[in-house]
């Protein structure tokens, strides 16, 4: 086995192993150390012995033995502390059986509302995704020491305030699950802005949740939503790195496997008929995915779904995205009135949508001003390149006849849930 293979096992099994060890040791730091020890041993041993039949089981057993050794060693130095740590451990040593639930417990701990949202995100990526502090810091454009301190503080609070490792009781589950889904979707949206690794990680967490909580329709909805948005990644940037908005994308470049998987999940949600905000957003994306060309988009259905979303989770951002659909169904004039009534002056997509509607109405001077307002509010190079191209006069007149050029600049913004804005 080569180092990259062990890296794969690490990424796939780290969260599982840490979750089991946290439960066993009652302490996150001890659990992480033990699991890292076990992987270090694996790197040394597996190339000679070959990969054990159950790599996860091997890692967990090795980590547990390491942790027990360490605690015994420390017991000689500091008996009371080590005894306390062992007291927290359940009697029966954990095996692979109940492992699924352990990861579910841990994700609810990481996303506990008593932790700051940024800390929830970082902890989830660290403990369940196995991402290093360096990579998390890099993905969020935060200095590494800042991220390291954020993680240390969050882990200390879990320990000191005794945040439990537990799946919340039924009465609290809907609220707490919303918190978990918001964290996963936040990771996804953060990745959308330029760090594909985070999108991959969010999809992976989404799959994990869907596997662990198959009866929660919103969990399925979020996974479907992420898969359908992710399927368009190959088509989303042109050769110059400029953003290609949905209507202009080459649909042959969409990842058909992800589209099919996402659409199958949306159909499952429809059959279940307990719609929620993530499911509705996934359904909107599924309508787009269904259309062989932008012109063939069933905008009436999109609009109906936005009406439903507004009824369930109204927010100015949802209203803005609904207006984009209104423009296609009832015309740019009606849509512009809706957009102008929104209080979203600090949001670049608001200005980009306005600019596009103004352009379609032939109000070029105002359109250019609106594109400039949008440019001033976004730092994403891909979005900037697209907006910059759009505001040039020849683009304005050339695209006036193109009925399909009115979508907002990024699917992310179409799909951003009320809860994460």
């Amino acid at each position: 086995m080569t180092a990259p293979d062990i890296e794969d096992v690490f990424r796939a099994e780290y969260g599982r192993a840490v979750a089991v060890l946290v439960r066993f040791l009652g302490d996150i730091d001890l659990a992480e150390e033990a699991v890292q020890d076990a992987f270090t041993t694996a790197v040394r041993r597996w190339p000679e012995t070959g990969v054990p039949p159950s790599p996860a089981g091997w890692i967990i057993t090795t980590a547990r033995n390491r942790a027990i050794d360490r605690l015994r060693r420390e017991a000689k130095r500091d008996e009371r502390h080590a005894e306390a740590a062992l007291l927290h451990a359940p009697d029966a040593p954990p095996e692979e059986g109940p492992v699924r639930d352990e990861r579910l417990r841990l994700i609810f701990t990481c996303c506990h509302p008593a932790l700051a949202p940024q800390a929830q995100v970082a902890l989830t990526l660290r403990l369940l995704g196995g991402l290093t502090t360096t990579r998390i810091a890099h993905a969020f454009l935060v200095p590494e020491p800042t991220m390291a301190q954020r993680l240390v503080r969050a882990k200390a609070k879990i320990r000191d305030a005794r945040i439990p490792y537990r799946v919340p009781r039924d009465a609290d589950l809907p609220d707490r699950l919303n918190g978990v889904l918001a964290v996963v979707y936040l990771i996804f949206n953060e990745g959308y802005g330029g760090s594909p690794e985070l999108c991959t990680e969010a999809v992976r967490l989404g799959r994990l949740l869907a596997e662990l909580m198959p009866d929660e329709p919103e969990v399925t909805g979020l996974l479907a939503l992420m898969l359908l948005v992710e399927s368009r990644r190959p088509a989303r940037e042109d050769a110059d790195g400029a953003l290609v908005p949905l209507p202009e994308q080459d649909r042959d470049r969409w990842d058909r496997d992800l589209v099919a998987e996402g659409q199958a999940l949306v159909r499952r949600c429809l059959r279940r008929n307990q719609p929620g905000p993530y499911q509705i957003q996934a359904a909107i994306q599924a309508v787009h995915s269904d259309a062989p060309t932008a012109e063939a988009t069933d905008w009436r259905q999109v609009l109906q779904l936005y009406d439903q979303l507004m009824a369930q989770a109204p927010s100015p951002v949802v209203a803005l995205n609904r207006a984009v659909a209104v423009a296609e169904v009832e015309g740019a004039r009606v849509a512009l009135d809706l957009v102008d009534a929104l209080d979203l002056d600090g949001y670049h997509v608001f200005h980009a949508v306005r600019a596009d509607l103004l352009r379609r109405l032939g109000r070029d001077t105002e359109a250019v001003r609106a594109y400039e307002a949008a440019l001033a509010l976004t730092a994403s190079p891909a979005e900037r390149a697209w907006l910059d191209r759009r505001r040039r006069p020849h683009t304005l007149s050339a695209s006036r006849t193109a009925t399909s050029a009115s979508a907002p600049p990024s699917p992310k913004d179409v799909t951003r849930p009320a809860s994460s804005t």
Binding site: H112, A114, D160, R162, I163, P164, R166, P168
Partner: protein
């Protein structure tokens, strides 16, 4: 089990609510305290006089200086405390939620170091 301190955070300088509202809050607090006792979570609870009634003692060159008034002026003051025993933060937060509804004021929940006796 662990001890948690529930602190009632009261804005400084706000006028007291009218008597009928205060009476309602008092009634709700009695119910809350009763519930804590029944659950075996009760340790202690009480309201505090205002910061103008405080006295601060500061060690200084082997002696202790006495000054009038609170240690620090702030926008909020500690209006009262409730000391509870709970198995974990979720249980403590549930009590904190009830305290916030009863007092109509923000509640800060903070864990004590160490373990509480069962």
């Amino acid at each position: 089990m662990k001890y948690y301190l529930l602190s009632v955070m009261q804005p400084v300088g706000d006028e007291l609510p009218p008597p009928e509202v205060l009476a309602e809050i008092g009634k709700n607090l009695d119910v809350f305290h009763q519930e804590l006792r029944q659950a075996g979570a009760w340790v202690f609870a009480g309201g505090l006089h205002g910061p103008e009634s405080s006295t601060v003692l500061r060690p200084s060159a082997g002696d202790v200086l006495i000054t009038d008034g609170p240690y620090a002026e702030g926008k909020e003051m500690l209006g009262g405390i409730c000391l509870i025993k709970a198995p974990d933060l979720d249980a403590a937060l549930e009590w904190g939620r009830k305290a916030a509804l009863a007092t109509t004021l923000p509640i800060e929940v903070r864990p004590f170091t160490g373990e509480a006796e069962d």
